[in-house]
Amino acid sequence: MRRLLAGLAAALALGSAACAYDDPGMVPLDQLDQQAFTRDVQPIFEARCATLDCHGVEGRPLRLYAETGLRLRDDLRDLPMTDEEVIANVRSAEGVDPGARPDLNLILRKPLAEAAGGVQHEGGDLWLSRDEPQAACVVAWLAGQSELDAVRDACIRAGTEVALPPPPE
């Protein structure tokens, strides 16, 4: 019994050590910029990730709400995103790879081509390089650097790339 308890204690200690993270590039989960997310990241997620046949599915990792995809409630269809949905998306993004450095976060590495340091992704390679505006914009948000001038340029270019057709008249 003693051995069992000692083993459990050791496992817990190792688990805690793995969670301890003091990298200066990491933004605590509760400090990710919701305003920057809405402005810069949500349009990228909506166009590239959040369709009803990918991350717009309840229960899927990085579950995402979107105007053209999954909605939080039935009566929200065809309406703009609500704050509640945006917050839920931020929480969902936070939960993908908590503790990871922004440039190693799975939010970047899943859609990134494996040749560029990405990992296997059912949805394929969305970004061939970390330098692509969409990738740079998302990583900057994870790092809390959305307001840097260089990042603003990338995010504006990304926003142009992912612009959706207007809603039906």
């Binding site: 909506e46 166009a47 959040a50 369709t51 009803l52 046949d53 990918c54 309840e58 979107a66 053209t68 995809g69 999954l70 909605r71 939080l72 409630r73 039935d74 929200l76 269809r77 065809d78 059912e122 949805g123 394929g124 959706l164 057709p165 207007p166 809603p167 039906p168 008249e169």
Partner: protein, 181 residues
């Protein structure tokens, strides 16, 4: 050489594994999806089951319908119509820039199979090659046009996201050409 008797713990583990394994034997998700479509309405061929998720029975992984489709669905003139729209074009542009254009049949159905010569009849386009996802789609007829705002990443059945049961949190409603009468 005599047989060695397995300890009771191993036998119990084997029994548990057997029971767990037997719980997995049953209906597959694909079979469940096909069952949800219910019995056929008597019609057969390309005009049957408008508005239902075609690849539930015509998918690559489960094909009780016999024919595999890459993309298939139903187009309506307006979102609240009960009958599909004949003669609507569904134009699909794949990730490589290839364009497939298929015209809906009398129930509004269209379907695209792969490995044909590129011809089409009765809503069925036999494409030479499989479209590469993600797909960009627009529907048009005459002067009317309706582009799909989002892309299709992987789902070949339009009705999975465009339920004929209407709009909701998980459905954007039917594929339609005109918003207003």
């Amino acid at each position: 050489m005599g047989l060695v008797r397995a300890p009771r713990s191993i036998a119990a583990a084997a029994l548990a594994l057997g029971l767990a394994g037997s719980a997995c034997i049953g209906t597959t998700p694909e079979e469940e999806a096909a069952d949800r479509a219910g019995p056929d309405d008597g019609d057969e061929g390309p005009t049957h089951r408008p508005g239902q998720p075609c690849l539930a029975c015509h998918g690559a992984d489960y094909t009780p319908g016999g024919q595999v489709f890459a993309v298939a669905g139903t187009v309506y003139l307006r979102a609240d119509d009960d009958r599909g729209l004949r003669g609507a074009h569904v134009e699909i542009t794949d990730d490589d820039g290839a364009v497939l254009d298929v015209v809906t049949n009398e129930t509004g159905n269209f379907m695209i199979s792969v490995g044909g010569g590129g011809g089409q009849e009765d809503g069925w386009l036999r494409a030479r090659e499989a479209p590469v996802f993600p797909l960009t789609v627009r529907v048009y007829r005459g002067d009317g046009e309706q582009p799909m705002r989002s892309v299709i990443h992987r789902e070949g059945s339009c009705a999975v996201c465009h339920s004929r049961d209407g709009v909701g949190a998980v459905s954007v409603g039917k594929v339609f050409l005109e918003r207003e009468p």
